[in-house]
Amino acid sequence: MAGAIGFMIRLQIKTRVQYRVAFLLNRLAQIIAYASAFSAIWVLIHKFETLAGWRWPELALLLSFQLLGYGVGAALSFTQMRDLEDSVRSGRFDTLLVKPFSPWAYLVFSGLNLGYIGHIVLAVGMLVWSLSAVAIDWTLFRASYALAALASSAALVCSMLTMIGACAFVLTRSRYLYSIFFGLWELTRYPLNLFPIPLQWLLLTAMPMGFMNYVPVAYLLGKPIVVVGELGGVLAPLAGPLLVGLAVLQWRYCIRRYQGAGG
C-alpha cells in the first residue's frame, strides 16, 4: 500500500511540474493573500498594542499554528472531499470501490493537493520568527508538545473536512457545509477569550477548531485557557487523534449507507 501511495505522490508532483509557472504564481498569490490578511491584524496591534491580552509575537504564533495545521490537514482533505460530491453523482467514485485499495486512501492521495505548499512556507516562516520573539522557556518537553500539537492540529482539520466530505454519500448537496467550516475557521485567527461564551463553547466542542491553535499556544505561553482551563494542555494533542477516530467511523458508516448496506 505504501508503494502505491508513494507512487501517487510522485505522479502528483509530475503533474504539477508540467504547469510550474502557473503553480508558482498561484503559490505566490496565496502567500500574498494570507500575508495581507495577517498584516491587517498587525496594523490593528500596531495601533492598540494588545488584543485580548495577546501581543503581536504571540498572535503571530497563534496564526502560524493555525495556518500550518490547516495547510497540512487540508492538503490531505479539502479539494478531494469538496469534489467528492461531483464524483459520487457522476459515478466516478464507484471506480474506487472496485479496486483492492482503500477508497479513502486512493481519493486522498491521488488528489493530494501540493498547492498547500504556499500555506506551509508562510506558516513555517512565521512560526520560526514568532518562536524567537515570544517568551517561552523552551525545554525538550515543550518542543515535543508543540510538535505533537501541530500534528494533532493537522489531523483535526483533515478529520473535520473528511467528515463534511462524507456527507456527500448521504446528502444530495453538501458543499455549502464548507462555508460553515471556513466561517468558523477564520475565527481561530484570534484568541478565543475575545468571543462571547457560546462561541467559545462551539469552537471547543461541536466544531473543535479551538484545539488547532488557541489551546496549545495558550498552554505554551502560560495563558489562561477558556472553557477547558487546566485540561486544555492535555486535550490539545489528543483532540486530533480523537477526531480521526470519529472521522473513520463516520466515513465507514456513510459509505455503507451509500452502498445500501444500512447503518
Partner: protein, 340 residues
C-alpha cells in the same frame, strides 16, 4: 462445475426524494421528507459459468448498471443474493476486487494529465502484480490493441477510442478471472468498436476470462457473447443465445433496396413494401422460414439494382417484441428460456 457468478432473486430499489414543485414546494421539502421507491432490479436470477461471455442487454434505465454494481460489490441488493467467485462481493470487497476487472464506459480511471503508462504503473502497484507478469501482459495486450504508439502520451491527448482500449487493457493487467464492462463501446467509432470487440472475444476464448458486458448495442453481443440476458424495466425478459431470441420472436428482417433510378413499383415475394421513395424502397420480410435468396430471386437479373442491405431489428424493436410477449405464437413462455 459451480457457477462463477450466481444471482438469486436479486432486487434493488432506491429511495428518491419526492420533489415538490414551486417555491412553496421547495420550502416544504426543507421540513418534510417523502420518498418514492424506485425499483431498479426486480427479482432477477441467473447463473454464469466460468469462461462464459454474457451480454446484459436492455434499454436505458433498465437496471443494467445497477446489476453490474451489485455483481462488482459497489451496491448491496435490497433482497436476494449475489455470489461471485464463491463470495458475497460486497462483504469481501478487497479480495473480490483483486480477481475481477471492471471497465466503466463513461467513467475513466486513467490519470488525465499524465502519460498512459503512468496509469498502468499505478495499477500494477495497487494490484501488486509481479513485475514479469505485468510486463508480459502489457506487451501482449498493447500489441493486440495497438497501444504502443501512445503509451507515452498524456491521456488528455488521446481519443475516446484510444482511451477505451487503454481502459480495457488496464482492467486485464492483473489477470482477473472475470471482466465486467459497463457500456464499453458507447461513443466509439467503428474502428475502435471493432478492435475492442475482437480483443474481448480473444481474451474470453484464449484466456478463459469470464466476460460480462452491459450494452444496448446488439453488435457487441453478436461479436463477443454467445449468451444474452435481456432486461427491461428492472425485470429479466430473456436468458439464452441470441439465435434463440431471434427465432423465438420471429425476426422481422427489413430489406432496403436502392435502384439506379426509380424503377416504378417493384413487388417481391414473401416481402411487404413498407416505404417507396422512388429509387429507395423498404420491405419487411415477415416470415423467417423464407430465405433471402427466395425473396430476391426475381431481382437476380436486374441491372439497375445498385445496392441492397438487410437491417436487423434494433434492440428497441427486439425489446418491444419481447415485452409484448410472444404468447400469440406460443414461442415465449412465462419463464424465459434458459441458455446453454
Amino acid at each position: 462445475m459451480p457457477p462463477i457468478i450466481e444471482a438469486s432473486a436479486v432486487s434493488k430499489s432506491f429511495r428518491q426524494h419526492k420533489r415538490f414543485p414551486g417555491v412553496l414546494g421547495a420550502l416544504k421539502s426543507l421540513f418534510t421528507q417523502q420518498f418514492t421507491e424506485v425499483m431498479a432490479v426486480d427479482g432477477i436470477s441467473f447463473e454464469i459459468g466460468r469462461g462464459e461471455a454474457v451480454g446484459y442487454l436492455g434499454p436505458n434505465g433498465a437496471g443494467k448498471s445497477t446489476m453490474i454494481k451489485m455483481l462488482t460489490g459497489i451496491l448491496l441488493p435490497t433482497s436476494g443474493s449475489v455470489c461471485v467467485l464463491g463470495r458475497i462481493p460486497h462483504a469481501e470487497r478487497s479480495r473480490n476486487a483483486r480477481q475481477i476487472g471492471v471497465v466503466f464506459g463513461q467513467r475513466s480511471q486513467l490519470w488525465w494529465d499524465l502519460p498512459l503508462v503512468d496509469s498502468f504503473e499505478l495499477h500494477r502497484r495497487i494490484y501488486k502484480i509481479p513485475a514479469d507478469r505485468y510486463r508480459d501482459n502489457l506487451a501482449r495486450f498493447s500489441e493486440l490493441l495497438a497501444l504502443g504508439p501512445f503509451l507515452e502520451r498524456p491521456v488528455r491527448q488521446l481519443s475516446l477510442g484510444q482511451r477505451m482500449r487503454a481502459e480495457v487493457v488496464m482492467a486485464l493487467l492483473h489477470d482477473p478471472q472475470i471482466l465486467f464492462l459497463d457500456e464499453p463501446t458507447i461513443g466509439l467509432d467503428v474502428v475502435a468498436k471493432d478492435a475492442v470487440r475482437r480483443f474481448l472475444r480473444e481474451v474470453n476464448r484464449e484466456r478463459g476470462v469470464t466476460v460480462i458486458l452491459t450494452t444496448h448495442d446488439l453488435q457487441d453481443i453478436e461479436q463477443i457473447c454467445p449468451r444474452l440476458i435481456v432486461v427491461n424495466e428492472a425485470k429479466l425478459l430473456f436468458d439464452g443465445p441470441l439465435s434463440l431470441l431471434r427465432s423465438a420472436l420471429g425476426s422481422k428482417r427489413r430489406l432496403k433496396l436502392e435502384f439506379a433510378a426509380d424503377p416504378g413499383p417493384v413487388e417481391l415475394p414473401y416481402a411487404k413494401l413498407v416505404s417507396d421513395a422512388g429509387a429507395l424502397k423498404h420491405y419487411l420480410i415477415e416470415r423467417e422460414d423464407v430465405s433471402l435468396v427466395a425473396v430476391l430471386s426475381d431481382l437476380r437479373d436486374r441491372a439497375d439494382l445498385k445496392d441492397l442491405s438487410l437491417e436487423e431489428p434494433s434492440i428497441e424493436e427486439l425489446i418491444r417484441s419481447v415485452y409484448a410477449g410472444g404468447d400469440a405464437q406460443g414461442r415465449m413462455s412465462a419463464a424465459p428460456p434458459r441458455g446453454v
